[in-house]
């Protein structure tokens, strides 16, 4: 059933947020520490475990994948409720940090890729989880 997937996602989400809150309390800060990231790791491990035991039918996967595919639309909705008017007063910050970050990363990419030995054997193509979802992003 498709709800199993969504329920798995919800369980990982809640457990991740809970662990993040616990971690935050343990570290003495009154905030959630990496709850979303912990939830993501939990979901990756849950998926590996369930796939290995063959208790992860396609329909269950769809219950998670639907929400993964919704992530761009949700981000659009998130963008639509930001305080843009206030942000525009600090205009150059966004532009400068973005250009700076992109330029620095481009230089590091160029540097790392120049160290690559040309004699790399042809590697098998990675099979992505769901091609439709990959395209959607």
């Amino acid at each position: 059933m498709i709800i199993y997937g969504t329920a798995l996602l919800a369980a990982c989400h809640l457990l991740g947020i809970f662990l993040g809150d616990l971690l935050g309390q343990a570290l003495g800060v009154k905030t959630n520490v990496g709850g979303v990231g912990i939830a993501m790791l939990l979901l990756i491990f849950a998926r590996l475990y369930m796939a290995k035991r063959e208790i992860l039918p396609k329909l269950t996967e769809l219950g998670v994948e639907y929400w993964g595919a919704m992530y761009i639309p949700v981000v659009v909705a998130m963008a639509a409720q930001q305080d843009v008017v206030a942000a525009l007063r600090g205009g150059p910050v966004a532009l400068l940090s973005a250009v700076g970050a992109a330029a620095l990363c481009a230089c590091v990419i160029a540097f790392i890729n120049r160290t690559e030995r040309p004699a790399v054997a042809a590697e098998p193509e990675p099979v992505l989880h769901n091609e439709l979802l990959t395209e959607a992003e």
């Binding site: 790791l41 659009v76 998130m78 966004a94 590091v108 120049r114 990675p126």
Partner: protein
């Protein structure tokens, strides 16, 4: 007539939000295809439209929640709010293939780590030099320079103000657009030829939409390799942003 329609839309806020965002996405995909020949990713255009709508909403109501301040579009506040946003982000972890990811090996992990640290340092430094000198704002803007998802997730976790969050999203967005448009132009300089180079690129360049669109415009075969590493980007950023990077920033700033 109009009033009845308005009432129906306002009372079914979340459903209205789905419809509105759907129309925005449709418009963006068409604009992307027809106006930019697919060079600028549709999702990036959609986010720009979203931010423009937020600006319009902010100017109209004088509130701080953009379009969501208009009662007709209140559902946007729920759809793009913390709960559904985090839910959707966690769901994307499902697309990560751990076995494939392991093949990226050390260099992918190093690129991923550098791809989180370097943009963060640049973003936080620029924020500091522009007067955003408290640790929360510096971390949020620095995280925004990682990706436009990491920024708001980090900001929400450490309690940044809405205008800093918007700034952080804008930073990530500008970076995503630079990656999308700049990658095919800079492909030769970046050395984008092999799967390994695409993985390095995916780790360092960040955002999934930026990386997949940038690689698609460069060499379609490289897309899965880059996207594979890039899908880890948001997770790593969300893990490090509100924790390690925030504490480090706080320790340095005092």
């Amino acid at each position: 007539m109009i009033e009845i329609l308005q009432k129906a839309a306002a009372q079914n806020g979340l459903v209205t939000a789905f419809a509105v965002v759907g129309v925005v996405m449709l418009l963006s995909m068409q604009l992307s295809k027809r106006l930019t020949m697919g060079r600028v990713h549709g999702s990036a255009i959609a986010i720009v439209i979203g931010l423009a709508l937020a600006y319009w909403g902010g100017v109209r109501t004088g509130g701080h929640k953009g379009l969501a301040d208009l009662s007709l579009f209140g559902g946007i506040g729920l759809m793009g709010g913390a709960m559904l946003r985090d839910f959707a982000i966690v769901a994307t972890a499902f697309e990560v293939q751990a076995t494939e990811a392991r093949k990226a090996g050390m260099i992918g992990a190093v690129a991923l780590l550098l791809g989180t640290l370097l943009p963060f340092i640049v973003g936080a430094s620029v924020a500091w030099s522009m007067g955003y000198s408290d640790a929360v704002s510096m971390t949020t803007i620095g995280a925004g320079a990682v990706t436009y998802i990491v920024g708001p997730v980090t900001g929400a976790a450490i309690g940044a103000s809405s205008d800093v969050m918007a700034l952080s999203i804008a930073t990530g967005l500008v970076k995503a657009i630079i990656v999308m448009v700049g990658t095919p132009i800079a492909a030769k300089f970046l050395g984008l030829k092999t799967p390994r180079s695409a993985m390095v690129f995916g780790g360092l360049a960040g955002t999934v939409s930026g990386v997949s669109a940038g690689l698609a415009a460069t060499d379609r075969k490289l897309v899965p390799y880059g996207a594979l590493v890039a899908t880890f980007h948001t997770g790593l950023g969300c893990l490090l942003g509100p924790s390690l990077l925030f504490f480090a920033t706080k320790a340095i700033i005092g």
